[in-house]
Structures are given as structure tokens and as C-alpha cells.
Amino acid sequence: MAQAVVGGTHQVEHPETSTGLPHVKLAMWLFLSSECLLFGALITTYLLYRGSSQVGPYPNDVFDIPYTSVSSFVLLASSLTMVLALSAAQRTDFGRMRLWLLTTALLGMTFVGGQVYEFTAFVNEGLNLKTNLFGTTFFVLTGFHGVHVTVGILMLLSLVAFSMADRLPGDPAFPVEMVGLYWHFVDIVWIIIFTVVYLVPTGSGK
């Protein structure tokens, strides 16, 4: 009978998959499609309650559109640096790759920092989770997104650390590509949230 090696450490080639796609990539796409529905349900909740707060502060009272536009731009720019990181990884220029990954993480941290500042400002202006439906839906929706960005930052920093310790298994471009998929997804979601929450006027002044 055959011998099976359990827990072997030698590097073997990825077995060919039925679709030709690596398992991780397929899993990432499935996961992200699931995430689409997660954010879909959260955004739906926000839209449903838009303009139905009974007491202030209302969105127009607290939003600082130019400020949030800048931080949104920072997050969008991080998608570009992410692409540059991947392209460097594919050229096996791992120094550049780490540099761009770090830049991406820094941009992400700037965004999250901006969000923390914004939340604090809102709380100071009297808007918190319990104030009204706007506070409830706003903080939970953008907070969920902020947690996603934070997880992304952790992954980016881990990539840098693993790369420096030479602990990335197989082709380093692959994990960079996977983290990139996640990162771009989180960015795209922010474009939708930014549009829906900040840019589309509520009409009633609420």
C-alpha cells in the first residue's frame, strides 16, 4: 500500500486545480462576495433610516465633507500603492514591494486615524450610538468599514514583516495579490459608503 507522508515539510508544487485558479484565490472571491451582502445589508439599513431621526444632530449638522473627502482620497490612493506593491512583487523586487506595502498601510492608518478623529468630533457635537437613528446607523456602518480597514492594515504589516523574515511561503507575489484583492474591495465599499452617507443629500434637512 501507498505511503502517506503526514506533516512533511518539503516544498511541493501546488497540485493542479480543476479550474486552474489557486484555492486561496477562489476562496477569497467567495469570501468577498459574502462580504458584499454584509455591507449590502448594512447600507440598506442606513438608507432605510435616512432622514428618519426624530432629534438632532442630523447629518448636515456634523458632516465636514471636505475633511472626509480628503481622507477618502487617501484611502483611494492606497489602492494605487497596493497595485504598485503587487507589480513590484511580480518583478521580484521585494524591497520596493515592502516599501509600497508599508505606504499602503500608512495611508490606511491615516484613513482610520481620520475616522477616529471624525468619530470623536461627532461625539463632542452630541452625536453617539444612542442619540438617534442617524447616530445608530452611521456609527455602525462606518465602524464596520473601519474595522475592515484595520484588519487590512494588520495583514499588510504582517506581509511586510513576514517578507523581511523571509517567511512568505511560495511565490511572495501571491499573498500580496490576495491581500490586494481584499484591500481593493474595502476601498470600493468605501466609495459606495462615502457616496451614500456623505454625498447624497437627505433632502429633508435632517
Binding site: A2, L37, L133, S158
Partner: protein, 623 residues
């Protein structure tokens, strides 16, 4: 059995990789899909006994008018936990048990796509279930129904519904991870030649179920988070006092909840679609029709949710739309039943226990399906909703359909998993007692509901005239309990005997029967190459020109026994066992307790998860 060498030298991980593949402790670190499948099966069976005991208490309370067995508070906890247990801790994980064990074998793979994630899913499910049950000791179990409608579920002062939200979030993460894993396995790890339309129907149903999970669980995740925030952090998602709408929860819940019904029933449909052909000795009639109807059920399942809400007051337009979509979903379901009948037609039907349970599934599901069609007649549903008529309906679907189907699978694959055949006489006794008990318990509920018995009521007055059929129903419930004892006796008796069943005791059709019973740790010595649907059958039998079956002479088939030599023989690399999945999953219930009681536990939980993931990522792999 060949020697299994374990190499763990040069480990650079945070912890040494565990090495044992046998013995008690190996179960905690295993990443073998077969062992994980067995653990899913055992845990969900234990939960079945617990949830069943809750049902017995409920039936004891309702046996007579003005029952005094339970208090109102206990009753609300028990019927809520009964529902949660049966849906999330029995039928879902028992289906996961079959998927885990069988999918890789049926598609000719050595394991699932992500073995460690697979272990993680299992432990997270188990810890989520235990977390939910710990609520009995920690301030009260969930008591707002499995459907958890706010505002009642938010305003209830006991801690139960917080456990509900967190417990379901934890098991939901487990299911999502499991669904991604098994979905990738099916799509990506099929043996050479195993095209999508050569996959067994069970694998197809597995794929549909995983996709349903991936797309429906995020919706209830959001709903549960909103409920949790309302309860714990004072938000107003479902708070009518400041303008929130409790109906939002109902939409989100049923947008998950109805696909969930198909998540519960499609595995059983897949199981009996494998069993009926084997014991009729005919191929499944209209394979593609059965597959496509399963896919159609999955799709339409997302468009019928508001039929749970006909009495909410959504208005005639919505009720019309959802009434029609609900009746449409009966069509692909009916197709399956006719196809199973046509499969048996003209066959050589052998009434082995798995076949009996499969026939039980079909015949009982028909009853549940017909009462389901009655609900699509919306005005009739105005009377039936929230009554025992609905209780009868979904027990015919989920017990008569899913549980009978899962037992069919248990009897059918027991020899493959444990190398021993369950006793046929005891199995038949089990079947008949369960069938009689089931119908005694649930058929009277149709009448009870139509005659005005509401659901979720801990008591009813004598004047309603409902005593007789309630008493009959209680007798039926205890009869079901007896049938479970027969099954347990059968298992004990069987497991005491030595192993030694041949690879293919039923003369079956699919790939899992090629390999030994139980299969070796690497499943197949050589990965088979697939040339047709029911590959194994076609290696054993050919058809003559008139469609009659002719046994293939050994070695006489064109391609009998052909295998893929890629990676075959020596040096099959399987992932080693790992501590990390169980460790990481342990962090989640800690976060849950932290949210309820004290934040430091949540920080510890988060730290464990982060530490665990880094250990996981840095674990020296077999790759």
C-alpha cells in the same frame, strides 16, 4: 495499511506541530476531513438528543390543558432552544458531517481545500453551541424564539437573547468559513475527468448549500449585530419609540431564514438521490433535471422570504408577489419527487434500512410540501400563520424530510465510515417506530392549528377543546424518543463487533465505494480518473443495447480501474495535525462572554485569536 511517516523536523513555528495521528488527543489536532466529519456527526447527534429532550419537556407540558410541568419562563426558554438547537446545532452540522466526510471522497480528492480551516470551522461550531447552552447556567437561556423578533427580543430583561445573538454569530462564522472551504473543494478539487455534470447529485446539493450559506449568512450576521447593539449598546435599529422599525429585522431574518430552510433540506435531498438509485439498481432518473431543480430551489429561495410575514401588514401588493413566488418554488421541488418516483419505477427495489429511510423522506416531505403550498394561498395563511398548522408543516419538512434523510445517510454510509454494517433488523425497527411516532406527533398538529391552537403558548385552556389531539401528539413525541433509543442500541451493538466490511457492501455507484471501508487517511491510493456519471457503477456494469444491465468481467472494461498517476503511490503529502484551529476558535466564545459580562474576557479572546492566527500562518506547512 501502509506506513505513515510523519516529518516535523525543522519546525520554525511558534509551537511544535503535533505529530500524533491516532489516540484520544489526536482528535483535538486532526485536520483530516474524515475525522472532522465524524466529530461533526457525533456532536450534532448529542445536540439532537438534547434538543429532543427539550421537545419531550415541551410535549409533556402540552399533553393536557393547563399543564404544570413547566413555568411560562422555562417554556419560552425550552421552545427557543429546541428550535435553535435543531436548526443550527443538529441539522446544519449533521449535514456538514456528511459533506465533510463524503465530498472529498465523492469527487476523488484527498482532503478539503483548507484542512486546518476545516478543523477551525468544526471547533468554532462546537464552541458556539456550548456557548449558547452555557446561558442556562449564566442568567437564562434565549427565550424570544429562534426567529428572535424585536422589540420583544430586545426588551426582554434576561440575558438570554444576548447569548442568542452572540451564539448565532459564532456558529455563523463557523458556517461561513466551512461553506467557503467546501465550496472551493467542490469547484477546485475534482479528480481528473470529474466534470461538473459527472458529479454525484449529493455533491451538487453540497455546492448549492455552500453557496446559499455564503450569500445568506452575511445577512443574518448584520441582523444579529444590530440586535446585539440594540441590546448591549443602546442603539435603536429596531426601537419603535424613536422611529426604528421592528419589521426591518423580520426582512433581514427571513431573507436569511428562507434560504436556510433549503440549506437544511437540500443535503437530505442529495443523500436520498444517491441512495434511491443504489437500492433500485437504476441510475437516477433525469440527473440533470434533479440538479437544475436543486439550483432553481436555491435561487428562488432568496425570493420568497416575506411569506413568513403575510400577517405583518405589508399590503396586498407584497403579499401577492410573495404568494406567487412561493407557489413557484413548489415546482422544482415537485420535479424532484417525480424524478425519484421514476427512478424507482422499473427498478429492482431492495428494502434495506437506508432505502426505507429514503422512502420515508420522500413520502413525508410530500405532506410538508403540500401544506407548504397551502401557505402560498395567502388568505388561508392569514388563518394558519403562527398556529400549530405551521409547526406541523415545517416538522414534516425538516423532520420528515431532513432528519429522515440524514438517518438514511447514516445507515447507508455507516459501513464506509466505521467498517461495520449497522444491524438491519434493528434499523428496520428504528425506522417503523420513528415513522409511526413522527406521524402521531405531527399529523394532529395540522388539525390543532386549524382549530385555533397558537404557537409558542405554554398553556391552553380546556375550553378550547384541544386536549385530545395534544395528548396524541405527546404520545407520538415519546414514541420518537423510543426509536432514538433503538438507534443508539444499534450503534452500540454494531461498534462492539470487529471491523471488516468490504469496500462496497451495497453494490453502490459513486467513487467513495472504490476505496477501503473505512478509507485510508489519504482516501485513495491512486486518484481515480473519471469517465462518466456514477463512475464506480460503470466500472462494474455495462448496459447492453436494450438498456439491460450486464456485469463487466474483471479487467474487461475499456477503462475499468484506471487511475491518475500524478502524485500517486509513495509520498502523498497530507497536511499534518495542528493545535491552531482549536486554539483560535477558543477565542471567539471568550469574546462573547466579554461582551456580556466583562470586557477583559473579550481582550483575552482577541489576543488568543491574533496570536493564534500568527501561529497558524507561521506553522511549518506540508506544502
Amino acid at each position: 495499511m501502509g506506513s505513515v511517516s510523519v516529518a516535523a523536523e525543522g519546525s520554525r513555528g511558534l509551537l511544535r506541530r503535533p505529530t500524533a495521528n491516532t489516540g484520544f488527543w489526536s482528535w483535538f489536532t486532526t485536520v483530516d476531513h474524515k475525522k472532522i466529519g465524524i466529530m461533526y456527526g457525533v456532536s450534532s447527534f448529542v445536540f439532537l438528543l438534547v434538543g429532543g429532550s427539550e421537545a419531550l419537556l415541551i410535549r409533556a407540558q402540552l399533553a393536557k390543558p393547563n399543564g404544570t410541568v413547566l413555568s411560562a419562563a422555562q417554556y419560552n426558554e425550552l421552545f427557543t432552544m429546541h428550535g435553535l438547537t435543531m436548526v443550527f446545532l443538529v441539522v446544519m452540522p449533521m449535514s456538514a458531517a456528511f459533506f465533510n466526510y463524503l465530498l472529498p471522497l465523492m469527487i476523488g480528492a484527498r482532503d478539503v481545500a483548507f484542512p486546518r480551516l476545516n478543523a477551525f470551522s468544526f471547533w468554532l461550531f462546537l464552541f458556539g453551541g456550548l456557548f449558547l447552552y452555557s446561558s442556562f447556567l449564566l442568567g437564562g437561556a434565549p427565550n424570544g424564539g429562534w426567529f428572535g423578533y424585536p422589540p420583544n427580543s430586545v426588551t426582554d430583561p434576561s440575558v438570554g437573547m444576548t447569548f442568542y445573538a452572540l451564539g448565532l454569530l459564532i456558529t455563523g462564522i463557523a458556517s461561513t468559513v466551512g461553506a467557503v472551504n467546501l465550496g472551493v473543494t467542490i469547484i477546485n478539487m475534482r479528480a481528473p475527468g470529474m466534470t461538473m455534470f459527472r458529479m454525484p447529485v449529493f455533491v451538487w446539493m453540497g455546492l448549492v448549500v455552500q453557496l446559499l450559506l455564503v450569500f445568506s449568512l452575511p445577512i443574518i450576521t448584520v441582523a444579529l449585530f444590530e440586535l446585539l447593539f440594540d441590546r448591549r449598546f443602546g442603539t435603536h435599529f429596531f426601537d419603535p419609540v424613536v422611529g426604528g422599525d421592528p419589521i426591518l429585522w423580520q426582512h433581514l431574518f427571513w431573507l436569511f431564514g428562507h434560504p436556510e430552510v433549503y440549506i437544511l433540506i437540500l443535503p437530505a435531498f442529495g443523500i436520498i438521490s444517491e441512495i434511491i438509485p443504489v437500492f433500485s439498481r437504476k441510475p437516477l432518473f433525469g440527473y440533470q433535471f434533479v440538479v437544475f431543480s436543486g439550483i432553481a430551489i436555491g435561487f428562488i429561495g432568496f425570493g420568497v422570504w416575506a411569506h413568513h410575514m403575510f400577517a405583518v401588514g405589508l399590503g396586498p401588493v407584497a403579499n401577492t408577489a410573495f404568494g406567487i413566488s412561493t407557489s413557484i418554488i413548489a415546482i422544482p421541488t415537485g420535479v424532484k419527487i417525480f424524478n425519484w418516483m421514476a427512478t424507482m419505477h422499473g427498478g429492482d427495489i431492495r428494502f434495506k434500512t437506508p432505502m426505507l429511510f429514503s422512502i420515508g423522506t420522500v413520502t413525508m416531505f410530500i405532506i410538508g410540501g403540500l401544506s407548504g403550498v397551502m401557505h402560498s394561498v395567502v388568505p388561508a395563511d392569514y388563518q394558519q400563520t403562527d398556529t400549530y398548522f405551521i409547526v406541523a408543516h415545517f416538522h414534516y419538512v425538516l423532520f420528515g424530510g431532513a432528519i429522515f434523510g440524514l438517518f438514511a445517510g447514516a445507515y447507508f454510509w455507516w459501513p464506509k465510515v466505521f467498517g461495520r454494517l449497522l444491524s438491519e433488523p434493528l434499523g428496520k425497527v428504528h425506522f417503523w417506530i420513528m415513522l409511526i411516532g413522527f406521524n402521531l406527533a405531527f399529523a394532529p398538529m395540522h388539525l390543532l392549528g386549524l382549530q385555533g391552537m397558537i404557537r409558542r403558548a405554554y398553556t391552553y385552556p380546556e375550553t378550547l377543546g384541544l386536549g385530545f389531539w395534544n395528548f396524541v401528539s405527546t404520545i407520538g413525541a415519546f414514541t420518537i424518543a423510543i426509536s432514538m433509543l433503538v438507534f443508539i442500541a444499534n450503534v452500540i451493538k454494531t461498534q462492539r463487533r470487529p471491523q471488516g466490511v468490504e469496500a462496497d457492501p451495497w453494490d453502490a455507484r459513486t467513487l467513495e465505494w472504490i476505496t477501503s471501508s473505512p478509507p485510508a487517511v489519504h482516501n485513495f491510493d491512486e486518484i481515480p480518473i473519471v469517465h462518466s456519471l456514477d463512475e464506480f457503477w460503470h466500472r462494474k456494469y455495462a448496459e447492453d443495447k436494450s438498456g439491460k444491465l450486464v456485469p463487466v468481467q474483471a479487467g474487461g472494461a475499456d477503462h475499468g480501474g484506471e487511475v491518475s498517476h500524478e502524485g500517486g503511490g509513495h509520498g502523498i503529502h497530507l497536511p499534518g495535525p495542528s493545535y491552531w484551529p482549536i486554539l483560535v476558535s477558543f477565542g471567539f466564545p471568550l469574546i462573547g462572554y466579554g461582551v456580556i459580562f466583562d470586557w477583559w474576557m473579550a481582550f483575552v479572546g482577541t489576543a488568543i485569536i491574533l496570536f493564534g492566527f500568527y501561529g497558524w500562518a507561521l506553522e511549518p506547512s506540508a506544502e
